[in-house]
Symmetry: C2
Subunit: 334 residues, 2 copies
């Protein structure tokens, strides 16, 4: 039986109960505390999700960090505050897993990585794609496409908060102050696996159309590699029915949903389709939680998959995308 | 009953019998002569397709143009020779319909348009998409997507001649001398309807990976409009399963096959799909032939749909794409 690590979660948005479900089912974690800016919201969140009444509610991170029982912190707060919050966790000697993108920019991330090393705690990127079992199947089947000639990837979905934005309610998800927007929230899912597969691109070309709030409504990111391009489209203000694809001279791998790799098929050059995906846990965060548990219990301070180097390469691409598209965050000027 | 126009066709590739079928079924045309560089090939083509034995075979355009009975010429020769051949037809007082792209570059096209005007004959672009009945349905449904936030379009298909290219046989379709390649052959299908719908883009950005022959194997074209981008991927060396899409804040129009608009659906923002396409003639060239017949019999010298202005705007985009991607044709230096 694994030692159960005491988990604190920061944030009460829709992703947090899914992380807690994954963490508890992984067998590695026990929900210990919830950080919510308002105690009342934390209490509602705890009861609405049926968590034990001994789960502690804290109104701020500092109080939670003072609790010696907390082993690991999951940060699902707005992007802009990942950096100060993760730094506080690290300084308090807690392991920390941070929702994607880990920080507002590369400078913050490099500083965080150095801090984690100095404090000998685990710092991990919660990007889930590479840890889904179907990602291994994708890698195993990659050679079937032959020489790669083109990749396309898309994540375009109308945010449930977009109507609120149009109504003038300034929701977090379209708020420049919080380091949000389309490429940070959805485009990053398309960038991460391709940078993992093919390394840092030779060049990045980016285009976007911005909202009045200053974040991107929709955009394009092109990753140039020596012999092909990855063409990424992302949006939080319109939706697509298309899949991501790795297209080669001998066939195409079709990836339905680049964030969870729910379905994978290989289409040969005659158009014959073969389903190659395996069934996955419906809550794909399960694989992140399982990997986090394995990594901590092995005494490692860095994931062997979601490495610090990979997160840094991805944030370097995001920085360049924002430079070219004119999306600038307050965090960039600190 | 319409007057039947005597039709001469130049070329014997796979598209020509489809044009002849369309032309004859339209009721406007009668196949009169075939131009084929080798009489023997022309004879084989005539008998293989079951055309009447009184259809004349010519080894060169000049002989065919000397025949007063020919009213209209369909040019399906390699792109590089569209210009000299069309110019010869016009000078001989024949109406001429030219396969897409009409010429190697804008300079040639402008010269051809001026020549057609001076000679008072019809010059028409054989690009078929806008003339398919489903294109009108697309236009009628466009407002359903609300404010457009992003368009994507794709035409990627492995050419049946690509293995021959890899085997060193230098087929026409990958031959720089003939003004060929991916964007000229397939990408143009994605550019044409969007330039028709939204006008000349403010900016064009293009990327491509070239074959050793100097033409593009696969590429990306981005058309920038004031409030959104059209993201085009095209290839003749790999294939896609994706559709073209017009994505708006209220829903998405999904276009399956941008060249023929075989299937159109509207997906609302809740994900509800509605099929909106009508059945079309399986040979979509039928609509080109029908429109050509109507245009000639109305005494017009320019199509009201595939206008000279539209063809010029499209070739201007193609010129810019090739400038940015380094695909240069001998025709550009003449």
């Amino acid at each position: 039986m694994n030692k159960k690590y005491n988990l604190a979660v920061v944030g009460t948005n829709f992703i947090v109960p899914r992380f807690i479900d994954a963490a508890e089912r992984s067998g590695y974690f026990h929900l210990h505390s919830i950080v919510s800016r308002k105690t009342q919201s934390g209490l509602c969140f705890r009861s609405a999700n049926g968590y034990d009444s001994d789960v502690v509610i804290h109104e701020n991170i500092a109080d939670m960090l003072n609790d010696d029982k907390v082993d690991v912190v999951y940060l699902a707060s707005p992007n802009a505050i990942h950096f100060p919050q993760a730094a506080a966790c690290i300084k308090a000697g807690k392991h920390v897993i941070v929702e994607k993108p880990m920080t507002s920019n590369t400078r913050e991330l490099l500083s965080l990585i150095a801090l984690a090393k100095a404090n000998n705690v685990l710092l991990m990127d919660a990007m889930k794609s590479l840890l889904c079992p179907n990602f291994s199947i994708l890698v195993d089947n990659l050679s079937r496409v032959g020489r790669i000639r083109q990749c396309t990837s898309t994540y375009s979905k109308i945010s449930s908060r977009y109507q609120g934005y149009l109504d003038g309610n300034n929701p977090n998800t379209f708020n420049r102050m919080l380091s949000n927007g389309s490429v940070m929230d959805l485009g990053v899912y398309c960038i991460h696996p391709f940078v993992h597969l093919f390394g840092s691109p030779e060049q990045v070309h980016a285009y976007a159309d911005l909202l009045d709030s200053g974040v991107d409504a929709a955009g394009i990111v092109i990753l140039k590699y020596p012999q092909f391009h990855v063409n990424i489209t992302h949006s939080k203000t319109c939706a697509t029915t298309n899949s991501s694809e790795i297209q080669g001279e001998d066939g195409t791998i079709v990836i339905d949903n680049i964030s969870t790799l729910t379905s994978l098929k290989f289409v040969d050059k005659k158009g014959e389709e073969t389903e190659i995906s395996a069934p996955q846990d419906p809550n794909s965060i399960f694989y992140i939680a399982q990997h986090l548990g394995e990594t901590i219990s092995s005494g490692l301070k860095e994931s062997a998959v979601n490495t610090h180097a990979l997160s840094t390469k991805v944030l370097t691409v995001l920085d360049e995308v924002r430079r070219q598209t004119g999306v600038r965050f307050p965090a960039d000027d600190r």
